[in-house]
Symmetry: C2
Subunit: 127 residues, 2 copies
DNA sequence: GCCGAAAACGAAAATGATTGTCAAAATAGC
DNA sequence: GCTATTTTGACAATCATTTTCGTTTTCGGC
């Protein structure tokens, strides 16, 4: 893994929530790196391909990334306000998805589950 | 609701699965309509704002729409091959999402759940 | 330490979905 | 029929993301 890619991964690790490619590019430039936007995209692509980071799409269609502590299958509870994300798992959901797929004759069933909310800090700040 | 908007909604109703704005535009033009792409986007925007259609994003970031039979909260089981979608509901998932949010101090919890798979027809065709 | 191939970079151009602009056309109210 | 309002659609503009393509860096020998 190249130095640049390491830098992108580290920038992701330092962030507590999901960040877009553009965000990360801005972060890295802000801390003095001369990295190019293209490289950020390439690094994120590689990292998500190798399963080192999770990707999801915002409602506006922008891709956002996160370095996750667990490499097992899990989902996220994301704060609408600050973007902070908590890793959660739900065996019940996994089973449900599988069962629903099977019931309708679908095979190779996969699923995406994201939970959004306002975290305690952001609720407090909103007062 | 204008005639154009009706046309877009009907095109959606005739489709069995999720369709992108571009798809619908192509469909409408194919059946002789002189509708413009801009109008298709505007109609879909209006329809999704009023909750008459469901929207989700493909992995490539393209927005896809579907006219759903039920106006209650539900999820979709979508075929990766043909795009056909089945409306499903999962009380267990709703409760789980709410519980997980509460456990971590999150309020105003919402969630998105999509299940993907290969439907029986498409599996058969793949042989 | 030095050399060349291969991999990684980055700037700028290309792409593709979506949105904004604005004048023409449909429709409504009178 | 006639003006006021809304809807429409061609076209330009936006914006994230990808491609292209020379340049630079990294590395494995030597």
């Amino acid at each position: 893994m190249s130095t640049r890619r390491e830098a992108v991964k580290q920038a992701l690790n330092e962030a507590s929530g999901f960040r877009s490619a553009q965000d990360l590019y801005a972060d890295l430039r802000a801390e003095g790196s001369k990295i190019g936007l293209t490289t950020v995209y390439r690094a994120l692509q590689a990292l998500s391909d190798s399963g080192e980071v999770d990707v999801l799409r915002t409602g506006e269609g922008e891709a956002v990334y996160r370095a996750c502590a667990s490499d097992a299958h899990h989902h996220h509870l994301v704060c609408r306000g600050c973007g902070r994300a908590v890793e959660v798992e739900g065996p019940a959901v996994e089973k449900w998805a599988e069962a629903v797929g099977a019931k309708h004759g679908f095979t190779e069933v996969t699923h995406t589950v994201e939970v959004f909310g306002t975290c305690a800090d952001c609720s407090a700040r909103a007062n």
